[in-house]
């Protein structure tokens, strides 16, 4: 069998040499591009060209700091790497001139420095010390934001394909599975099923033809963990899948990735081509006799296709609907063949486990949940972004230390974890360790890692309605409880939000939750009631306020709002009357105005415009 070591050394030398040159690096994942990263790239590129500067440019994946996008890193030989954030093209050019040409950094734009063995600059926070980074461990995201994802060479320099080589050259398939089992790795896509057990079932399943499938149909609202890996480190996924293929005896793999991730698909395709051309994928990998091919299947956007049996139907060209299990995919999966399905993050954990060993991995996390987990922090949180933290860290740590607490000094109300299948967690339970089993006890679930933070201005009935609207729309329609039940739950929640809810509605809603949860065919339906159940469990008084008092305590549900002008505060400036689109506000100049609540459509334009804080809702 050939070894990659020689090649890795060559690449390493070339990579080290490149450190002697000035380099600017841009985070050009979908997130970076959306934040304006490409515009900065273009501006910098044309500046370098017109001024004939000898500066390298490189693009990389997401580093996780969404809150500071767009980012630009500056690498000067012998200096720490400086990460500039919150940039605009003209600011980037200015930094280029000052830092790269004149040698003077612009500290006001620097988010952090990464000394990397060089002398750190004074008065600038080090990357590993900033609160966003401090608690993080980078098992899966280690290379994201560091390497150029389109360069297989970079991947190889950063230990890439070492694990595959190790598995092929010195481990039997059973030993690989043993290692994964022993590591305690659990599926990162939602259910948290032990990966080793899944692999073992597929391994033991008889058959000459088997498949490895990657679920990259990341569909939870507010989740983008997998996308970051696909865009920032695609080879890690390919390597994980190839190791799985070797372990279970499969020679073919499919990555089912949603078509809404075009950049991920593009980078994956290039990664597959590059790996094949180097003999790392395809026939007779590295001369080991093991062959493994990977294909991409683009999903058309149905959430239910994240369910493994629906996903396989979709790959087969059928309507993406789940089927009853058993048989499980390990027995009868894609085209009826034994199949292992895991999600992106699960496979991306595999190479590092093989490389560093099960014990090292199992050293992280809690008793039954090992390793680290990537979370997408969104909502009313100061530092939105992608954070990989050791499992078992408290939610409080994630929200207040990593995430920097609630925006605009507002109060924390809840965090929705696990997306539409998960639940919300109130302040009183913030010290709960984040692991698979603790979250399920609280009525939430780890899910794929979406973490939506909500502040005091959030109505929890409205939140439940939002998620039900999502699941109702995404229900495939196959089984009766989910097809009919989610619609009826949504109708009741709409009724409650509109102030028309009755106490009986609450009983019906709870009964629906029980039935839909316990009788639906697949995970989508079984978990659809979770947002309702969790909000009812922790925020029941809010439901009751809507039903009995016809009030929305958070002031969100429009039908229940009463917009009022405080006569003592109103100066009679008439601005409110001017902006009211329906002429509901009247009053003489310099005298307090009044709102005709029959006419008022609760658009709140007046509230926004009032300079004296005289208009309030409640």
């Amino acid at each position: 069998m050939h070894s990659l070591n020689e090649m890795r050394k060559q690449f390493q030398n070339a990579y080290d040499e490149s450190k002697n040159r000035i380099k600017v690096v841009f985070g050009l994942g979908t997130c970076g591009i959306a934040a304006g990263g490409e515009k900065i790239w273009d501006a910098v590129s044309s500046y370098i060209d017109t001024h004939g500067l000898d500066i390298d440019m490189m693009s990389t994946g997401c580093i996780g700091m969404c809150y500071a996008e767009p980012l630009m890193e500056v690498h000067m030989p012998g200096e720490p790497r400086f990460i500039y954030g919150n940039l605009k093209p003209e600011v980037a050019i200015d930094i280029l001139k000052k830092h790269l040409v004149e040698g003077n950094p612009s500290p006001e734009y620097i988010v952090a420095q990464d000394p990397r063995g060089y002398e750190a600059a004074a008065n600038i926070e080090k990357l590993e010390e900033i609160p966003f980074y401090k608690a993080q461990v980078k098992n899966v995201l280690g290379r994201c934001g560091i390497i150029d994802p389109d360069q297989i060479v970079h991947y190889i320099v950063f230990d890439g394909y070492e694990a595959l080589e190790k598995a092929l050259s010195s481990m039997t398939p059973a030993e690989v599975i043993q290692e994964i089992s022993q590591s305690g790795l659990r599926g990162r896509g939602g259910g948290g099923f032990p990966a080793g057990r899944k692999w073992e079932a597929a391994y033991k399943s008889p058959g000459n033809k088997k498949y490895v499938v990657c679920n990259a149909d990341e569909g939870d609202p507010g989740a983008f963990m997998d996308r970051s890996v696909l865009e920032g480190d695609p080879h890690a996924l390919l390597e994980g899948m190839a190791i799985c293929g070797y372990a279970i005896g499969a020679d073919e793999g499919y990555i089912y990735v949603r078509a809404e991730y075009p950049l991920a698909i593009k980078r994956l395709k290039k990664a597959i081509r590059d790996a094949e051309s180097m003999g790392i994928l395809g026939n007779n990998i590295l001369g080991s006799g093991f062959s493994f091919k990977i294909q991409i299947a683009a999903g058309a956007g149905a959430f239910v296709c994240g369910e493994e049996t629906a996903l396989m139907h979709s790959i087969e060209g059928k309507r993406g609907m789940p089927r009853v299990r058993p048989p499980y995919p390990a027995q009868s999966g894609l085209w009826g063949k034994p199949t292992n399905i895991n999600n992106v993050e699960t496979y991306a954990n595999v190479p590092v486990i093989i490389r560093q060993g099960a014990d090292w991995f199992a050293g992280m996390g809690t008793e039954n949940s090992k390793g680290s987990k990537v979370f997408a922090l969104t909502g009313k949180i100061n530092r939105t972004g992608l954070a990989e933290v050791p499992i078992g860290i408290s939610l409080r740590d994630i929200v207040f230390n990593v995430g920097g607490g609630i925006q605009n000094g507002k109060h924390y109300k809840a965090v929705q974890i696990g997306g539409p299948s998960g639940g919300c967690i109130p302040e009183s339970l913030l010290d709960t360790p984040v692991d698979y089993d603790s979250l399920i006890k609280l009525g939430a679930m780890m899910g794929s890692g979406g973490l939506v933070v909500m502040d005091e201005d959030t109505c929890m009935v409205d939140v439940a309605r939002y998620f039900l609207h999502f699941t109702q729309e995404e229900s495939c329609g196959k089984c009766a409880p989910c097809r009919e039940g989610t619609m009826r739950m949504l109708q009741i929640l709409n009724k409650i939000c509109d102030g028309k809810g009755t106490p009986e509605d609450l009983d019906t809603l709870e009964s629906l939750c029980r039935v839909v949860q316990s009788t639906s065919l697949c995970g989508l339906g079984q978990s659809a009631p979770n947002p309702v159940l969790a909000t009812l469990r922790y925020f029941r008084p809010e439901y009751e306020a809507h039903i009995y008092d016809k009030k929305c305590p958070a002031g969100v549900c429009v039908e229940l709002l009463d917009i009022k002008i405080d006569a003592d505060k109103c100066k009679g400036c008439t601005i409110c009357a001017d902006v009211c689109p329906v002429g509901a506000i009247s009053g003489e100049r310099k005298k307090p105005h009044v709102i005709d609540s029959d006419k008022c459509i609760k658009c709140q334009a007046c509230m926004v415009k009032c300079k004296f804080g005289a208009i309030s809702k409640g």
Binding site: Q472, E484, T508, S511, V515, S518, T519, S520
Partner: protein, 583 residues
């Protein structure tokens, strides 16, 4: 074709509602409960189909399981503790029923399936007296495009049974699922309306449907109007598979109802003359067996397929337009009869053919379509003016309060009323083949056939075959029912690998006794019993070979002169055309 292999099963012990039950390993909870005398409600479950587990009405509690478990889709295992009667189970079942009912029209009184509707039955059993949810009615238009089948999507409960039959058993794929979630709908797979799809109008989706979402096109009112018209002479022909299904509908044993009683009942309903499709079945054998012999001796296109089944004919026209030469040119018995009743019979009876209103009574929905095919006017009139299915005749008898079992027998009208045991066999899959072999054998060998039963082509197996040695002339035959089995045989033909001379195809499971126009038929077990009744009737006949039929002999003597003669070609044979332009 036949699925699954029989494994060695060991017996295991489970507890169901506190009762210890010993059952073979691998049995579903549903069947275990049945064996223990406990009924578990079902909607999407069908005894002859794959498990779908989408209605979830059959959920039960299994100890150690967090969720409720679908009984149809779950096999029992040793020591399993099952409870079917807990408050949790009842809450779930009633809630699911309420959910389905709130998305289903409430006009049970006016529904074609009132009384035979599985949903209505469950609603009564589960005492659903009110509904907590507002009624949703999409007011979707009904699909009347097909001459055979009516679809009312408003009533559909999305169990998927029709789709599965059409797709897995028939390989026709006329139906599919569109949209998703609450808006999901069963729709024609191609086109807006069913008639634009590849539908062959076999009507098996009607039997598969647990509710009234798919039903047969009904013409009972039109019939009553025709019967009341003094200017019309209403003549009927009745097909062999109808009698026993009418007996079933009146709650009697299948062989209790006599053809003569049926003749009396039909006369009461207003038919002026009661004739018999069986007569035309015997005629078909005369023509078809001669055609087969000529193809064999003249090097014609082989294998030859039967063409009695209009769903099969359309299937070939739609899916195998290049293989149409393999179909026998013989019209079906219904259409042979239709062409003769307005020529030969009209002449004999001295009735002007334009006064004849020819009604056939068929176990079949596709016959309605066959009767309106443009080719079927060789008598210079519409050969068959109306087709009533068994269901419609039962309805007419119920409406008029006529119970045929209580009536005295009367004779069928002469000239086209006599029939042999061979004709009766047409009702069961393999029957046309058996009837043909009886006649072919005697034609080829010139000797009397002693052993009349060709049991190789009998029964419910999907594909049956036989090799018959007729004094050195070896004839290899096959009989298949359901179109998935037919497709397998046709694929062999298309690949030039078919070993057969003669193949009989019936689109419906079990043949015409399981036809789309029969009273709602719930299982193949029921079809197998009807098949048995057909064999009983054949055995009861004195004449059991088509060529022994006196009226047939007279028809040839006085009218047709010879088999495959000029008049036969004009009236009894046809040709087929590509039906793919929309598909």
């Amino acid at each position: 074709m036949d699925r699954g292999t029989v494994k060695e099963m060991s017996e295991i012990t489970v507890m169901i509602n506190g009762i210890k039950t010993i059952i073979p390993e691998g049995t579903s909870i549903l069947h275990t409960a049945q064996a223990a005398g406990i009924k578990i409600p079902t909607l999407c479950f069908h005894p002859d189909q794959e498990i779908k587990a989408n209605c979830r009405i059959c959920v039960v509690e299994v100890e150690g399981q967090k969720n409720l478990i679908p009984a149809c889709a779950t096999a029992v295992n040793e020591g399993m503790v099952i409870n079917t009667a807990t408050p949790r189970v009842l809450e779930a079942r009633r809630m699911i029923l309420e959910l389905i009912l709130a998305h289903h029209p409430q006009d049970c009184l006016h529904c074609v399936r009132s009384g035979s509707c599985e949903l209505q039955q469950l609603a009564a059993e589960y005492d659903v007296r009110f509904n907590r949810f507002p009624l949703e009615d999409a007011h979707l238009p009904l699909d009347y495009s097909s001459p055979s089948i009516v679809r009312d999507s408003n009533k559909c409960i999305l169990c998927g049974r029709c789709i599965e039959f059409c797709t897995s058993k028939q390989t026709v794929n006329a139906l599919g699922l569109a949209h998703r979630g609450f808006d999901s709908q069963v729709v024609p797979s191609i086109g807006q309306e069913l008639f634009e799809s590849p539908c062959v109008m076999c009507g098996q989706c009607i039997h598969a449907c647990p509710v009234g979402a798919i039903s047969g096109r009904e013409q009972t009112d039109e019939f009553m109007a025709a019967a009341a018209d003094p200017d019309k002479i209403v003549v009927t022909q009745i097909a062999p598979a109808v009698r026993l299904a009418i007996a079933e509908a009146f709650g009697a044993d299948r062989d209790q109802l006599q053809m003569g009683q049926l003749a009396s009942a039909l006369r009461m309903l207003g038919f002026n003359h009661v004739l018999n499709t069986n007569f035309a079945a015997d005629l078909t054998i005369m023509e078809e067996s001669q055609e087969l012999l000529e193809r064999i001796s003249n090097g014609g296109v082989l294998p030859m397929f039967t063409s009695c089944c209009p769903a099969w004919v359309r299937f070939t026209e739609v899916f195998y337009p290049d293989q149409l030469d393999h179909l026998s040119t013989c019209k079906s018995p219904q259409q042979m009869f239709g062409a003769l009743v307005k020529t030969y019979w009209a002449e004999r009876m001295n009735i002007s053919p334009d006064k004849i209103f020819s009604v056939s009574i068929m176990p079949c929905t596709a016959k309605k379509y066959e009767a309106v095919r443009p080719e079927m006017t060789d008598s210079d009139y519409s050969d068959v003016d109306m087709v009533l299915t068994t269901r419609e005749i039962v309805r007419l008898l119920q409406m008029t309060g006529i119970n045929p079992l209580k009536l005295e027998e009367t004779e069928f009208d002469p000239w086209m009323g006599e029939y042999t045991g061979s004709a009766v066999l047409f009702g069961a899959s393999g029957g046309v083949m058996e009837a043909a072999l009886r006649t072919v054998y005697e034609k080829v060998t010139g000797r009397v056939l002693e052993k009349l039963d060709f049991s190789d082509v009998r029964g419910m197996a999907g594909l049956k075959e036989a090799t018959v040695d007729m004094d050195g002339t070896i004839v290899k035959v096959a009989a298949a029912h359901t179109l998935g089995n037919a497709r397998a045989l046709m694929d062999e033909v298309a690949a030039g690998k078919s070993p057969y001379h003669f193949i009989e195809i019936m689109a419906c499971p079990g043949g015409c006794i399981g036809g789309g126009g029969q009273p709602i038929t719930r299982s193949n077990e029921q079809r197998a019993q009807r098949m048995e009744a057909i064999y009983v009737e054949d055995r009861s006949k004195i004449l059991r070979k088509s060529h022994e039929n006196h009226e047939i002999q007279m028809l040839y003597e006085e009218f047709l002169q010879e088999t495959l003669g000029h008049r036969s070609h004009e009236l009894l044979h046809t040709k087929y055309t590509l039906k793919r332009k929309n598909i």
